[in-house]
Every structure is written in structure tokens, then in C-alpha cells.
Symmetry: C2
Subunit: 353 residues, 2 copies
Amino acid sequence: MKFNIALLAGDGIGPEVINEAVKVSDAIAKKFNHEITWTPALTGACAIDAVGVPYPDETHEICMAADAVLFGAIGHPKYDNNPSAPVRPEQGLLLMRKKLGLFANVRPTFTFPSLIDNSPLKRERIEGTDLVFLRELTGGIYFGEKGRRDDGETAFDNCVYTRVEVQRLAKKGFELAMTRSKKLCCVDKANVLETSRLWRETVQAMEKDYPEVEVSYEFVDAVAMRLVQWPNSYDVLITENLFGDILTDEASVISGSMGLMPSASVGEHTSLYEPIHGSYPQATGLNIANPLATVLSAAMMFEDAFGLKAEADAIRAVVNKSLEQGIVTEDLVAKGTKAYSTSEVGDWLVDNL
Amino acid sequence: MKFNIALLAGDGIGPEVINEAVKVSDAIAKKFNHEITWTPALTGACAIDAVGVPYPDETHEICMAADAVLFGAIGHPKYDNNPSAPVRPEQGLLLMRKKLGLFANVRPTFTFPSLIDNSPLKRERIEGTDLVFLRELTGGIYFGEKGRRDDGETAFDNCVYTRVEVQRLAKKGFELAMTRSKKLCCVDKANVLETSRLWRETVQAMEKDYPEVEVSYEFVDAVAMRLVQWPNSYDVLITENLFGDILTDEASVISGSMGLMPSASVGEHTSLYEPIHGSYPQATGLNIANPLATVLSAAMMFEDAFGLKAEADAIRAVVNKSLEQGIVTEDLVAKGTKAYSTSEVGDWLVDNL
Ligand SMILES: CC(C)[C@H](C(=O)O)[C@@H](O)C(=O)O
Ligand SMILES: CC(C)[C@H](C(=O)O)[C@@H](O)C(=O)O
């Protein structure tokens, strides 16, 4: 098969980790007789520096024309303490999600047996955790009307959802639950918010179409607790944009393997794969960043965007092997043993595929 | 001194835990020569059952006339799976907060050395944790305009904050930080929300009035992570209503002592003290609920509402003693030892004051 993949390396360590994911993807393609064309494009702070906007039209066209998008990370410290700056890298991210129609963010949290002791949670709490959040990504308070009144003394952000937006996200949730253990948790704040009541009634009405799926409804504050207490009691969770932002990040650290968690954003026009870690500016250019989350994001891409499960499994297998054999970057290295560089880890993966 | 305290026992285990807090408060009052008049009033599901509304006018008048309010818990399973029911216990809670002007919710999270192994977190992560959230409680998306459009197909919730609302909450945060380790973290989502940008710029402008306080600004998703990773790196945190709802609950479980965490809501007209646990309907009437969070809430009341620190410390000391000696309810009992009932724990506290 032939694929055309848009390559959005972004800022900070983005280019370095993307580089390794490209090496591994190319090796897999060679092994399985596929042909990948990579088309690089600018996004984030580097796009602001180059052309003045964080998600240039040209980048958008490259993404629209691609079979999938592989994304690194964006963000730069020079924007960090000034959330009111007129142009910010994050705006590019939001614009990209909206324009590409990436309405569902798929965020798995799982554990690696060899890394379980890195978790801040006790082993018996975290063992066996394997959950997936589906976060709605193009609606809610992120995209509602916002602004100031009263000479700037009053600020507002409007949270809006339509039934259709809830249905298309929930449908993905039910479908995913059917491929897993058939448990779906709808996370909302229906005791306070009207948008949450719309979410809940919409999901309730869909239950009859998926009689095998056991659906539960939990308030966002209760989920924030149970994620820390009994993360392994969850399977598939669906939620709106802002709750998803908070809860997926909370979930990502409980496994102790945040540097390894991949993600996908899927939707109308294409799909995008990215590590959940950030641009880690302090490590830029040092060849020390952990490339595994990006490599595992490429595995998700092979499986979900291209339907190539064997290829994805081969990538996951070699990642597991590198973890078991301690071929890891400094964030994962055991005391007294040697840390490998970003590119050494990538080379090892390629050699051992 | 003479105090008039409104007593809102509420639903579920509320009356049982309130009963023990009253016993302990009366014993302390006797010991220190104070006189307490308790005025009971209805709220929650029991108020709906009795008079059709969850926060009756009569209850409001009793609270307004009181020196402080001691509150149990509200909520009943018959309302649980129907967030669209026309009258719900939570509405009473929100109305009460609004009408009493309780704009700041004070939520400490701390550890008890004897209970540290109950935490889902590893000992080295949780040890030394002693943080306080100040959650804004009468504004934001909880109280903004909400409703439906397009024949019910579109739902909206508006989040609104004024500079004055932010200032009065932040002022309490700075003042609290001055009495502690002079570290204040402002939690927002200023990279996305206009209300958060108002929060951040308002707090930034107040920094000059508290030159000794070291202020940091963190995004809500980052805080959701760090609370699990390094909770002991925080001291005082201030945040808006919805973020506070989620993060304070997350914080409450990390200590392993959720059943022991007290809280206060302070504001314009009076102040209210309550355990952070819920109404725990399954345990209603069984005399097994843990009364310590309510007893510790009474201690907060003595210290903060009445300025009686010695009285508060005496209550905290006897609670610590009960924990050390294992005079605890079944939720805290060590394997193979006997659980005490709710009222036995209360009696023991009174006898050992
Ligand atoms: C950078 C920010 C706008 C973004 C979000 O809030 O969606 C990020 O936190 C994420 O989760 O991808
Ligand atoms: C019951 C609910 C309305 C309430 C809230 O969201 O404020 C509760 O979760 C709390 O934190 O006191």
C-alpha cells in the first residue's frame, strides 16, 4: 500500500521524537512492502516565527490531502507567561482540530509491567489498568462565544453542545466499548449543567442500539476521585472537551508511563496521531527526549488509520522489547544503568524490528 | 461566649455525623465556658419531602440569624438517576451558597501519620502533604445563564466572572498564604478561556500588595497531574468554581483520609462548616458512618468563625488520639481489630477531651 502522511513536527522536542517515529515507520513499511511519502509542514511556535500564524493555510492543505497526520508537540516558553498574547501556538492546535473536524480525541491509559513501579500509585491500585478516554474535541467551552463586557471588568465563556455533536462522539464510544469489555462510562456534571443534561439524555437514548454495552453515568468530580482510587475499574469513558482535558491528563500520570502514552484524534476529514507529552522545551536539541510515545502513536496510525494491525503489533512488540531490555532514555533508566539517547533508542528499534 | 449555630443535618448519614459533632462541640463549650444554642433547620431531600423545596425560606432565615452554620450532607438515591428532575437536593445547596454569599470554599487536604498507608499513593509521594484549596463558590458556570435552543437540540451554559468576584476570592488566598508558607498557586485555563485570562490578570495585579507571597500560575490540566504526582509541592491554591469542584475532590482522595476532611464556606453573611464526604445513603441509620470529618469541621468553626484556637486544637488533639488508639469506625479499622460505631466514637471523644 501507499500512504501520504503529513508530518507536523512542531516545537521543542517535537522534531526529535518525530524523527525516530519516521525511522521506525519507514522500517516497518519496508518490511511489509508499503510506501510512505512524508510531507512536512509547519505548526506551532515555529510556524508563528516563520509565517506569523500557528496553523498556516498551507499546513492545513497538506493535512487535508494526507491519509493521516503525525504530530509532535507544540509550545514555546516565550508564550508561557502571557496567555493574552495576540498569537499563541495553542490557537493553532485549536484551529487545526476545528478545521480538520477532529471531533474525537482517543486517549488510552495502560501500564507496562516493567514500568509499573514508576507509578505514583501503589502497585495494587494501578495493576491491570487499561482504559480509554474519548474526549470531544471540537465543541464545548473551547469554541463557544467568549469575550468581555463592562469595559473589560466582566469576562464570559459560553459552553455549547448540540445533540448531533454528542451523538457522533457517543457513537464512537459505544463502538469502541463493543470491541473491548462492553463497559461505557459517560462523564458529566448533569446535576449542575444543562449541556451535561443534554449529554446524558442523548447517551441514554442511544443505549437501546447497543443492548450489550453496560452504560454508567458518573459526575466529573466523582471520576476525578475514582481515577486515583481504582483506575482499573474503568474501561471506555466518554466526555466533553474541558472535562476531557482535565481527566485525560490526570489519567495519564497514574500509569507512571506518561512519556509513553500515544493518542489519536479522529473525525471528518483525516486523523491525527501524537504523543500526549508536551514540547518539553528544556530538553530541546539535547537528544534525550523519550521517543516511545511518538513511536506508539505511529503504531496507532498503522492500525486505526490504515487498518494494518500486524504492522502496529510489530511496532508495539519492539517497543516492549526495548523496555524489557532497558534500551531507554534517561527518564526511564534504572538506577546505575546507562541511558540511551533519543536517536539510539530509535536506531535500536529499527534494528530489532 | 455565647453562640447561636444553625444545624443543617441534611440527608443520609448527615444526622448521625452531625449528632456526634454536636456532642463534641457541647463538651468543648462546657469545658471552656461557652454556651451554644443549636437551631436545627431542614435542607436537602428531607426538606423537599417535608415542604417541597430543598432550601426553605425558614432555613435561610435561621442561617442568616446564626453565628455559623454546621452542615451534614445532602442527597438521596431517588434523585440520582434523574438529573432533570424539577426539584433536586443539589439545587438547595447552590441556592444556599448563593443566598448566604458563601463565595469561598476552603478545602484543606492533609495527612494523618497513622493513616498514611490508606492513601492510594505511595508513602513517599503523599508524606508531608498539607495543602488548601480556595474554591470560588458563587460564580462561574454554576450560576451563569443556561438553557436550550433549537427545540431542545442545543444546550448552553454560560461561564461568567467579574473582576470583583476574582479579587475577593484571591484576597482570601493571599491572606491565607501569608499565614502559611507564602506560596500561592492560581489555577486556570488562561490559554483557552477568557474568564481564566481575567482571573490571571486580576491576580497578577494583586501581587504587588503581597510582595512576600510567591505566586505561580498553572493550567488546570497540569494541576490535575501534579496533584497525583507531587501533592506535597502545593500549599495554597485558588481557583474558579468548576475547576475547584473537580480538583478538590481529586485532592481529597490522595491523602487516604477522605472520610476525615473538613471544609468551610465563608463569605458575606455567615460561614458554613461541613465534612466533604457525601450523604452515603447505603449507611443511613446503621450507626457506622465516620463522624470525624464533621467533628473536624466543628473544630474549623471554633477557630475560624469564633476565633477560638485553643478549643479547636483541643478537638483536633482528641481526634488524633482516637486515630492513634484505633477508636475508629469500620472504614478505618485495621485488619483483625474491632470497629466502633458512630456514636461510640463520639462518646469516646467526649470522654477523652
Ligand atoms: C494546549 C491546550 C489548548 C490543549 C487543550 O486544552 O486542549 C492541551 O491541554 C491538550 O489537552 O491538548
Ligand atoms: C452536589 C454538587 C452540586 C456540588 C458541587 O458541584 O458544587 C458538590 O459536588 C460539591 O462539590 O459540593
